[in-house]
Symmetry: C2
């Protein structure tokens, strides 16, 4: 898809390819208590997985670790890549493609950056509405969570 950029000085229009924008989200398992969600400070508001935009030159893994730290104060150990979601309507702002990681959180959680507050939710008591497609992502995660908890247990024993 081509998009038009208008020069703010002379009004000249140039065309360039528009691409979907890569993001990451992180499902953080915290100390056997449940999953870390943030209440978003910026639109779209609501509870959501911690996450954000991937920088140019940054791997998805580095972005996931950085975003988790920035929004929750937690250091995370990535347990693996879960799935990549790309529905063009998953983000009301623009077409984003998110790669979701499962991680173990260490440290004391504290909301910061794009998170105005933060909470640990037991999987059976998740908020009924989540921002973006995070309800779908977590529904798919909960189906296979036991496999990830086994992986987490093994990782913790190392």
């Amino acid at each position: 898809m081509l998009m038009e950029d208008k020069c703010p000085r002379c009004g000249d229009v140039t065309r360039r390819h528009r691409n979907p924008v890569p993001t990451v989200d992180i499902i953080i398992e915290y100390q056997g208590l449940g999953l870390v969600l943030i209440d978003r400070a910026n639109p779209p508001h609501g509870w959501a997985l911690p996450g954000g935009f991937v920088d140019y030159g940054e791997s998805l893994e580095a972005a996931a670790i950085r975003e988790a730290r920035e929004e929750t104060g937690l250091t995370v150990t990535l347990l693996g890549q879960f799935h990549t979601y790309s529905d063009p309507h998953r983000d009301p702002r623009q077409h984003t493609i998110t790669t979701v990681y499962v991680a173990q959180g260490h440290g004391q959680p504290q909301a910061a950056d794009d998170a105005r507050r933060l909470a640990i939710f037991a999987p059976e008591q998740l908020p009924p509405v989540l921002a973006f497609d995070h309800r779908l992502i977590l529904a798919e995660y909960l189906k296979v969570r036991p496999k990830w908890l086994t992986k987490l247990k093994k990782s913790s024993e190392l």
Copy 2:
């Protein structure tokens, strides 16, 4: 990362965020004979998985089906998402992030678009050098290929 765009008419410089660019690649299993690879018409040259850029507003799945058809003439049935690769140096042109799908190919393969020729390779006789990080991707795929072939068999029986 911020990048600068220079207006071609007045030379005014505007800054905007630069993002990695999403792509797809498709591991196509073809009629029990092996995997479909293309010889790239455009740089970087060499054998590679069929694939390409994801359009704005297009899901990864739609892009995978479209790119497979454009480059190999095959209709593909996606068996599932394999993994997303994001090493900033995986593509010599720019930072791309590719989501790889495993698919079953139907029809008569014919090189087109970005493919100047095409071949079916038995997994044990892959070219020693592939473009991008496709050697790594296929090495990781071959480790779990039996699981995908079981899935393919079940899908074919439906």
